[in-house]
């Protein structure tokens, strides 16, 4: 290596030597960035915190120019687009009524079944202040960071669907790795077959689906939604629709990072598992009759509530030396 540098720099002066040193330094940084990503992630977060205000200021006039350029093209199609939008609006009104009716029905079913409601997801709305559509990375920079409780790994959605995940979070800015990026892999579910898959970005606009579990049929037009498998993303967020066939199944994404202005960062946590129902200190281990009098914790009660209410054979249970409160489901009022 030293000989190579020497040959390269011999007779070409200090400038060539410093060029060679800088070249080696760049390569070392590239490998170091792979091995110790956190160092450069912190540097990136600090840099984006520092340049964030500048990006916001520079963006405003450029955005106006971009919109003006976009509008030139739409002047000639505005009448046709208007008619098309009216038709779509009427169609969407119909779907809205259907959705509201289904929502009401779902609420009634959940009430009847004592279903545990999905936790409400807290979210933060952030503005996109930077964008990188580059050969080796597809990212967005948001103007919210740890000061606004944005954390690494959180899902980012626009009004249409899932955009990506936070992968670096600075104090006032954060970075989003898009689903299309070649480093992105997220678990998804395909409906209606309910087949699970991994959505793998490859820097093309339509990421690839790597089928995982199940053997249900998949066809173009099937909906792809997020899943909470692995605790990475909130469930049931629209991702896109299936396109392509054969081995190369891809997803046309719902989200549009190129037109999004504001996005939502969703604070999703896997629900805490219920505490194990163990013997209560000071409570003698007795039979089912005494156990029915025990009061389980509220969270546990909510989970066990929808148990079947009939056809439970309690005879084998009575013969055991039970050390845990039992809920036999035969008398729900007492069980609670």
């Amino acid at each position: 290596m030293a000989g190579f540098v020497w040959r390269l720099t011999r007779g070409r002066g200090a400038k060539q030597f410093s060029l060679a040193v800088c070249g080696v330094l760049a390569v070392v940084i590239a490998f170091l960035g792979k091995a110790e990503a956190s160092i450069f992630d912190n540097a990136r977060a600090t840099l984006s915190d520092w340049t964030g205000p500048g990006l916001t200021e520079l963006r405003a006039p450029l955005l106006a120019v971009e919109q003006w350029i976009d509008n030139i093209g739409t002047i000639f199609t505005v009448y046709r687009e208007n008619i098309q939008l009216r038709q779509e609006n009427a169609e969407l009104h119909k779907w809205q009524n259907v959705a509201l009716a289904l929502e009401n029905r779902m609420q009634r079913y959940e009430l009847l079944l004592h279903a545990v409601p999905d936790p409400r997801l807290a979210s933060i709305t952030a503005r996109i202040i930077g964008e990188s559509n580059r050969p080796f990375i597809k990212t967005l920079i948001l103007n919210a960071g740890t000061a606004q409780q944005v954390k690494k790994g959180e899902a980012v959605v626009d009004d249409r669907g899932l955009l990506g995940r936070i992968y670096v979070s600075g104090e006032r800015t954060s970075w989003v790795i898009l689903l299309t990026d070649m480093n992105s892999k997220v678990p998804v579910v395909i409906e209606p077959s309910h087949r699970r898959a991994i959505l793998t970005g490859d820097n093309t606009p339509s990421p690839r689906l790597e089928l995982d579990v199940g053997d249900g049929p998949i066809k173009a037009g099937d909906r792809v939604i997020s899943t909470a498998d692995g605790g990475l993303l909130p469930p049931d967020v629209s991702v896109g629709v299936v396109m392509g066939k054969g081995d190369d199944i891809r997803v046309a994404l719902s989200a549009r990072p190129d037109t999004a202005d504001f996005v939502h960062v969703i604070d999703y946590h896997i629900p805490e598992p219920p505490p194990a129902i163990g013997p209560v200190a000071g409570t003698p281990a007795v039979g089912p009759a005494a156990a029915r009098d025990a009061t389980p914790p509220a969270a546990v009660a909510a989970i066990v509530a929808p148990k079947p209410t009939t056809q439970v054979n309690t005879a084998p249970l009575q013969s055991q030396n039970l050390t845990e409160p039992q809920f036999d489901g035969q008398n729900e009022e007492q069980d609670r």
Partner: protein, 181 residues
């Protein structure tokens, strides 16, 4: 250390001259910021160009003394960090383009019109190829090539838009200060 003292001395004795000599690097850094704004003037058809490389290429041709290799490394690193990509890729690419341009400065500087555009295309190609090979080694797979080619085309198309204002800055500000030395 000595150079830092020299720089401080120059800043104190000739502040305007010092600032004008810092303009090439400053403009390149500004272009890094500009290239990473969330706007696309091509409607998302072309990826954002590597505008800073155009600035580096221009200034290496006209005033190589104002663009030392370390400054190119810093510009490339800032491009890497602000674009969100792996650090070092564009830094190495910029340095490769710098080395080629500096070595063949007489040839490149003599090009005009479409020839100048082709000259820059050569430098862009080398920078892109260097970044691609490095990315291939780091990721242990072949990154998709079309986005890189599109970005190269986009950057080459933007070169005249960068070169004209840079030429103006060179003639009216940096060159004037040089004449006053």
């Amino acid at each position: 250390m000595t150079s830092a003292v020299d720089m401080l001395e120059r800043l104190l004795t000739h502040p305007l001259r010092f600032l004008s000599s810092a303009l090439p690097v400053g403009l390149a850094l500004l272009l890094v910021l500009l290239a990473n704004l969330p706007v696309s003037f091509t409607g998302g058809v072309l990826p954002a160009p590597v505008l800073a490389l155009a600035a580096v290429y221009f200034w290496v041709l006209v005033r190589p003394d104002l663009v030392p290799p370390f400054a190119v490394l810093m510009i490339g690193l800032m491009e890497d960090l602000l674009s969100g990509g792996p650090p070092g890729l564009w830094a190495a690419g910029f340095l490769a383009a710098y080395a080629l341009t500096d070595r063949q400065r007489e040839t490149f500087a003599g090009l005009a019109g479409a020839g100048a555009l082709l000259g820059f295309a050569g430098a862009m190609l080398l920078a892109g190829a260097t970044a691609y090979v490095l990315a291939m080694i780091i990721y242990v797979r072949f990154p998709p090539l079309p986005p890189l080619l599109l970005e190269s085309v986009s950057t080459v198309l933007f070169y005249p838009l960068i070169a004209f204002p840079m030429g103006w800055v060179h003639r009216k500000i940096v060159g004037q200060m040089r004449g006053g030395e």
